[in-house]
Amino acid sequence: MELKPGSRWKSVVCDTEVVVVRPPKTEADLRCGGYPMIPNAEPKPEGKTLSPDFAEGSQMGKRYADDETGLEVLCVKPGAGTLSVGGRPIGAKEAKKLPASD
């Protein structure tokens, strides 16, 4: 999968959609709910169900970063699946808030 900056991906097992903010430095296997994410424009395959090991959910507006590959995505639609890279769940990071927006 070519995770170009700005490209939009969706989960095949839940409503999650993400946009790539920072591309990975090496090949990254981006998954949601245990299954590889697909380009947003492609039709969703039938019959897949959420893996219970990856069912913590994704949160709208959170940035998820994988330290190992450098991949960073922004969740633009939330869903029931956990985002992961190479089997590792990836965590949400906070924006560095400006004092002006306190």
Partner: protein, 502 residues
């Protein structure tokens, strides 16, 4: 990632929250998206191209901005205050384009080739059709916003801000939906200023209601801030001084106001000190940025302000005149004339690097191979990383090989009890190449030039003491509060025009 997606996310997450306008008749996020979608379909039918906006602040502005984002076309707000001929020239440079124009400005624009003019009232009717647009658009998002620089130093340049520059700034500096439902931001900077664009994008992404002032007057600003229970605002320094005058006269205290950020020009220390005394419950932030950097790159926050104001240590106290510290996800360096990086305390040119930095004009990329953008602003950093901006390098006075920044001399003169405003710049001089000239707006009785010269000499070096003096009733500013030093400099450039001192 593109600008319209920011709105899309908020319209999904908080559809019923007020997004734009007044409490009694404002639009929700859901409604803003619905209208922007209709607008995009309508603009495309008009022969899509760049979406130009010529008009006052108001609901139509963010709707046109997001409609352009949906269409994946650049959005170009133009300065309607320019003389007609200059405005027409800029408009012609946007072709092929569709221009949304305030009804009473349409007559000023002529018929530039490749530009379809539509009135704001027609645009607003099109946005407000019932139901939902089903139109789908190109997904190839590239240029988000085209902003013409103010041209204080020559022909306006078209700065290119790509979607990735703008959205990177937004998602790095604002947490999604972080605002409380009762927060509201008052936006009084004009549509064609980068701060006007970034205020819309960050406001929407944080879920904060935006209230636009059609055009700035200090009376309308104070009245609106009180009526709409405004919590946040961004102003340019000249606006703040005038707002304080109204507050002092009216006794209004603006109890709901929490945060005011300012930028876009040098803030005179007496003005910010007065603001902190008059509005002690407000947190002030000095935001320094450029059009070419998608807005803010360095911030002096509320705590920095209070610490500097309360300190007797001159090194901390002087930070009130700084722009604070660079944002943590950007790199900033001060470089000397041959590109060498300078240590703290030394003046040079401010360079910046980061995702939000476009450093690009139509037809010309001015970013170097390592991603650095030379700002053309002079400045230095103290030991703790506080950045002091000295002004445009074009404004530096070179007197006998010594570089003198006008800002420092202006600050000293502004502290004189009989000086209301001042501009310092270089005037031609046969002996030194340039000499320091000062134009003074007096407060009450006009001070003598000997008195003023003595005031400067006692506080700065004698080489920084102005030798050419003149008095005026007012100084030339552009409408975003930038002092037009160049205009004064040109007036003083011819030896025949050299005015007598006083």
């Amino acid at each position: 990632m593109h600008t319209a997606l920011l709105l899309d996310m908020m319209a999904d997450a908080a559809p019923d929250r007020l997004a734009l306008g007044r409490k009694r008749d404002g639009l929700t996020f859901y409604e803003v998206r619905r209208r922007a979608h209709h607008a995009a379909e309508w603009l495309q039918a008009k022969g899509a191209g760049t979406v130009v906006f010529v008009g006052l602040n108001g609901t139509a502005l963010p709707i046109a901005l997001f409609a352009a984002g949906m269409l994946a076309k650049p959005f170009a707000p133009l300065n309607y205050r320019l003389p007609d001929a200059d405005l027409q020239k800029l408009l012609a440079r946007t072709a092929p384009s569709v221009a949304v124009v305030d009804d009473d400005m349409a007559g000023r624009l002529g018929r530039p080739e490749g530009v379809t003019l539509v009135t704001r009232s027609a645009f607003e009717i099109a946005c407000n059709q019932s139901g939902h647009s089903e139109a789908a658009f190109d997904e190839d998002h590239d240029i988000g916003v085209l902003l013409f620089t103010s041209g204080t130093t020559g022909e306006p340049k078209a700065a290119i801000l790509r979607h990735r520059n703008l959205t990177s700034y937004v998602i790095s500096t604002v947490e999604f939906l972080a605002s409380e439902a009762d927060e509201a931001a008052l936006v009084s900077v004009p549509p064609y200023h980068v701060a006007g664009v970034s205020a819309i994008l960050t406001g929407v992404y944080s879920g904060r209601r935006i209230v636009h002032l059609e055009t700035f007057t200090p009376e309308a600003w104070v009245a609106t801030a009180a009526e709409e229970a405004i919590t946040h605002a961004m102003v340019v320094p000249t606006m703040l001084g005038r707002i304080l005058d109204v507050l002092e006269k009216s006794g209004e205290t603006l109890p709901t106001l929490k945060a005011v950020s300012y930028g876009g020009g040098r803030m005179p220390p007496p003005v910010i000190e007065r603001a902190m005394r008059l509005l002690p419950h407000v947190g002030f932030a000095n935001a320094y940025g450029l059009t070419e950097t998608s807005s803010t790159i360095s911030i002096l926050g509320p705590d920095d302000h209070r610490e500097a104001m309360a300190s007797s240590d001159p090194n901390i106290r002087r930070r009130l005149g700084s722009v604070g510290r660079p944002l943590p996800f950007l790199d900033v360096e001060i470089r000397g004339p041959s590109g060498e990086v300078l240590p703290p305390g030394q003046s040079g040119e401010i360079h910046v690097r980061g995702d939000q930095v476009s450093g690009e004009y139509a037809g010309k990329k001015v970013i170097d191979a390592e991603g650095w953008f030379a700002t053309n602003d002079g400045g230095w950093m103290d030991e703790d990383g506080y950045l002091f901006v000295e002004g445009r390098l074009d404004d530096v006075i070179v007197r006998g090989g010594e570089n003198i920044s006008p800002g420092e001399i202006e600050d000293v003169l502004r502290g004189h009890p009989q000086v209301a405003d001042v501009a310092v710049f270089g005037a031609p001089d046969n002996e030194w190449g340039e000499t320091v000239a000062a134009v003074i707006v007096a407060k009450g009785a006009r001070p003598s030039t000997e008195d003023l010269a003595g005031w400067v000499k006692a506080r700065l070096r004698s080489t920084k003491t102005p030798e050419v003096w003149a008095f005026r009733d007012a100084l030339p500013y552009n409408d975003t509060g930038k002092l037009l030093r160049r205009q004064l400099k040109a007036e003083f450039a011819g030896p025949a025009k050299q005015p007598a001192s006083a």
